[in-house]
């Protein structure tokens, strides 16, 4: 994980004003999410879900891009406004209530749904970051294709729950075609990818 995290950090850092840090978290549900301020959380069970390094990197670059675009902050502010309206206290919204609502939303951070536009934008920026990091941006396409071929029940809430994976694949392929100087050198064939093998039933090792 460390070389991958380092490469993504180097590629993404010029686009964001706080230092990126990646953390490995132990949970049964495969997931990855980025928090405002630059922290990126990778759940270890995600390593068993992805088929190769490029799919893993694509997922992380997508999440990092939400931080670059400040999507989480925008979404949380939007949710706060909705919550304030719901409790009919918008007029009384002072600093304390604002903070309380913010704290209440933090617990939902890993399951917040971004808009379709935010997701598409994060896909494209994510692919740019992947390419800058030296990893194959087709990994994101392969992951969407895997999700499309999988049973609905097997697909985790990862990279949002918008089901229109084909549109996202098309948008990425168009982005690759339009920027041949960046993307032409990468193979679209998943067989060219280095498989990510995490032996099952081995002791979990956490990096420090």
């Amino acid at each position: 994980m460390r070389p991958i995290a380092d490469a993504i950090t180097r590629a993404a850092q010029p686009r964001y004003n706080h230092p990126f840090k990646s953390y490995l978290v132990h949970e049964p549900q495969p997931n990855a999410f980025a928090a405002p301020g630059g922290n990126v959380y990778v759940v270890d069970s995600l390593l068993y879900l992805v088929k190769n390094n490029d799919e893993l990197v694509g997922t992380l670059c997508h999440e990092v891009s939400h931080t670059i675009h400040h999507d989480t902050m925008t979404l949380m502010e939007k949710q706060e406004r909705i919550a304030a309206r719901e409790i009919g206290a918008a007029v009384l919204l002072g600093a304390d209530l604002h903070q309380m609502l913010g704290i209440a939303l933090l617990g939902k951070l890993h399951s917040l749904s971004y808009s379709r536009e935010d997701e598409s934008r994060a896909d494209l920026t994510g692919s740019d970051v992947c390419a800058s990091a030296g990893y194959n941006p087709w990994g994101l396409v392969w992951l969407f294709q895997d999700f499309q071929n999988a049973n609905t029940g097997d697909v985790p809430q990862l990279l949002s729950d918008h089901p229109n994976n084909q549109n996202r694949v098309n948008a990425l392929e168009r982005h690759f075609r339009e920027n041949p100087a960046v993307f032409a050198k990468f193979s679209s064939d998943p067989k060219s990818a280095k498989p990510l093998s995490v032996p099952k039933n081995t002791a979990e090792v956490f990096l420090h």
Binding site: N17, Y23, P36, T72, F206
Partner: protein, 67 residues
């Protein structure tokens, strides 16, 4: 230089001064807002980290950095 020419010049300089003042004011408030948002981002990020860490400590979940 007649009176109309003087008035025209005075109006022109006043307009330029107003535009400059408005630009400086807008840039300053934009910078202040940006700084505020950045602080808020760091605060939010720290709260998420603390919450995850506390959750990890209470239920034996581990949290570690990769870089």
């Amino acid at each position: 230089m007649n009176i109309f020419e003087l008035r025209r010049k005075a109006l022109l300089y006043a307009t330029i001064a107003l535009v400059c003042l408005a630009t400086v004011g807008s840039a300053r408030s934009s910078l202040t807002a940006q700084g505020g948002n950045q602080d808020e981002e760091l605060q939010m990020g720290q709260m998420v980290f603390d919450e995850l860490k506390a959750k990890g400590e209470s239920s034996n979940l581990l949290l570690s950095t990769t870089n």
